[in-house]
């Protein structure tokens, strides 16, 4: 374990205001002003992550498992640095590439080729880099015949394929995956998993969020089990997943 640490969480806690009253709008704010003032004062905080510490080293593939609302997405957002921790600190090193939700960063009126450029740029490439990799992205996605079609004519699986193809050609150092692999057909899923394996061989760090213990055991070395915003267990992927399964099966 001499590889450098690339993701480090140190006693990280993250609170959200339970009701962000302002986004309800003026009408309800004015009509219920007294209650709102009270709410604001009490400002009930919801604790999404509570004192979480872990380290991930370069080249590891780590699975994050847990039930809905256990803090998995919050952890991912903290790594991607779109959220700031309320307490503690998060340190990351290297180019982080999150695999976006289906269709995020795409425009449905533009065609496939234009969307590759748009999405690639949003994910941090320059135009020159996208152009260099364009042919490989298209080839990987197997969507050559649809490049001139607007994205709104694509099927869900095709959009997922395009998104994944762009993301894997970004030369990420840290890849964040949030259960997306399940959308493509079998053949494409197989291709993605192969690509992930080759990433592992290249020393890319993979952080994989899922509530499927099977996925995590097959593709991760290590697993972190989150429960109610706290780490319940951490260690070898198989052992953790066995424990997790036991716990949720009753």
């Amino acid at each position: 374990m001499s590889e450098p640490v690339v993701i480090q969480f140190n006693k990280v806690s993250k609170y959200f205001k339970r009701s962000s009253m302002l986004s309800f709008g003026f009408k309800s704010m004015v009509l219920n002003l007294p209650q709102h003032m009270k709410h604001l004062k009490q400002a009930k905080r919801f604790c999404a992550l509570n004192d979480v510490s872990f380290e991930i080293r370069k080249g590891e593939s780590v699975g994050l498992i847990g039930r809905n609302g256990s803090g998995k997405s919050t952890t991912l957002s903290l790594i991607a640095q779109v959220l700031r921790p309320s307490e503690g600190w998060v340190k990351t090193q290297g180019h982080i590439c999150p695999l976006l939700e289906l269709g995020a960063g795409f425009n449905f009126e533009l065609n496939g080729a234009e969307n590759i450029l748009l999405n690639g740029i949003l994910l941090g490439m320059t135009r020159r880099q996208v152009k260099e990799k364009f042919a490989r992205i298209v080839e990987f996605s197997e969507l050559e015949d649809f490049l001139e079609q607007p994205l709104r004519t694509y099927s869900t699986g095709m959009i997922a394929r395009l998104g994944f193809s762009i993301a894997v050609h970004l030369n990420p150092e840290i890849l964040l995956l949030d259960e997306i692999l399940a959308v493509g057909d079998m053949a494409f899923t197989e291709k993605c998993l192969k690509k992930m394996n080759s990433f592992r061989e290249q020393g890319v760090t993979i952080f994989f969020v899922s509530h499927s213990p099977e996925m995590i055991t097959s593709y991760c070395d290590r697993a972190i089990w989150l429960d109610g915003g706290q780490i319940k267990d951490m260690g070898d992927a198989k052992t953790v997943c066995v424990e997790y399964k036991k716990a949720i099966m009753g």
């Binding site: 986004s23 995020a104 960063g105 740029i121």
Partner: protein, 251 residues
């Protein structure tokens, strides 16, 4: 730097293509709206109220095209961040570019509508003066910074206070009537001349119109609008910067 430029260019291209892609009459649509408004205002003010302003049609058009671009930028900026929630929640990138791309787009439309103003100038036998070479780019830059500043404030506030977008569309309409676009600034009674100084849009509107009507620019107003553009852009950018790390929680 290269990345920044590319991001703006690509987002700009996106907006631009999307706007024109499926409409055969794309360009016509974008100028038709302000032209129709100009016609109605002309009917109400010139025909019915008999306003005493020479070349009133040109007068109207030279203000309305500009205001349309400004109003569009402000209204569409309220959705700039919300419409991209999926990105903002997952990805850290210079989000201000989303707003800037929209503002640049409306500015581009304004530039594209200048030929129509030129056509009207031709009709009234007014030739563009030499000062266009420096004054037009300068005024466009001032307009860019004022609009961008306001747009950043609106886009940011709308994340935390969702009713903002409705307020803005009302407010922009009211604002137009308080800016000398349909009437001349000299017609404003002395008692209300102060509005000119607290309205950041007065200076730029008057100078743009002077440019299009072949009149000399007003130096003091030019200076005021430069100061306004710096102040508003500064305020907008500061607002954006101080809240940007909370976007993902609120979007």
């Amino acid at each position: 730097m290269e990345y920044y430029r590319d991001l703006i260019v690509v987002l700009f291209q996106k907006e631009f293509t999307v706007r024109y892609k499926n409409t055969f009459l794309g360009y016509i649509w974008s100028v038709l709206n302000p032209l129709l408004f100009a016609m109605v205002y002309w009917f109400a003010f010139k025909v019915i109220l008999k306003i005493q302003i020479p070349h009133y049609t040109l007068f109207l058009v030279s203000g309305i095209f500009f205001w349309q671009a400004f109003a569009n930028s402000l209204c569409s900026s309220s959705m700039a961040f919300i419409a991209n929630a999926g990105l903002i929640k997952k990805l850290w990138f210079p989000r201000e570019c989303l707003v800037l791309a929209g503002v640049l787009n409306d500015l581009m439309h304004f530039v594209l509508s200048i030929p129509i103003i030129l056509l009207m100038m031709f009709y009234y036998h007014i030739a563009p003066s030499l000062s266009w070479i420096w004054a037009l780019p300068l005024l466009l830059v001032i307009q860019l910074f004022i609009t961008y500043g306001f747009a950043l404030i609106i886009a940011t506030c709308n994340l935390f206070l969702r009713d903002f977008e409705r307020l803005i569309s009302i407010f922009v309409t009211l604002w137009m009537w308080l800016t000398p676009i349909l009437y001349n600034e000299d017609m404003v009674p002395a008692k209300f001349q102060w509005i000119k100084f607290v309205n950041p849009m007065t200076g730029i509107v008057i100078n743009l119109r002077h440019l299009f009507m072949g009149m000399p620019l007003v130096g003091s107003l030019l200076l005021t609008s430069i100061l306004w553009s710096i102040a508003i852009f500064g305020l907008g950018y500061w607002t954006y910067r101080s809240f940007t790390w909370k976007f993902a929680e609120n979007v």
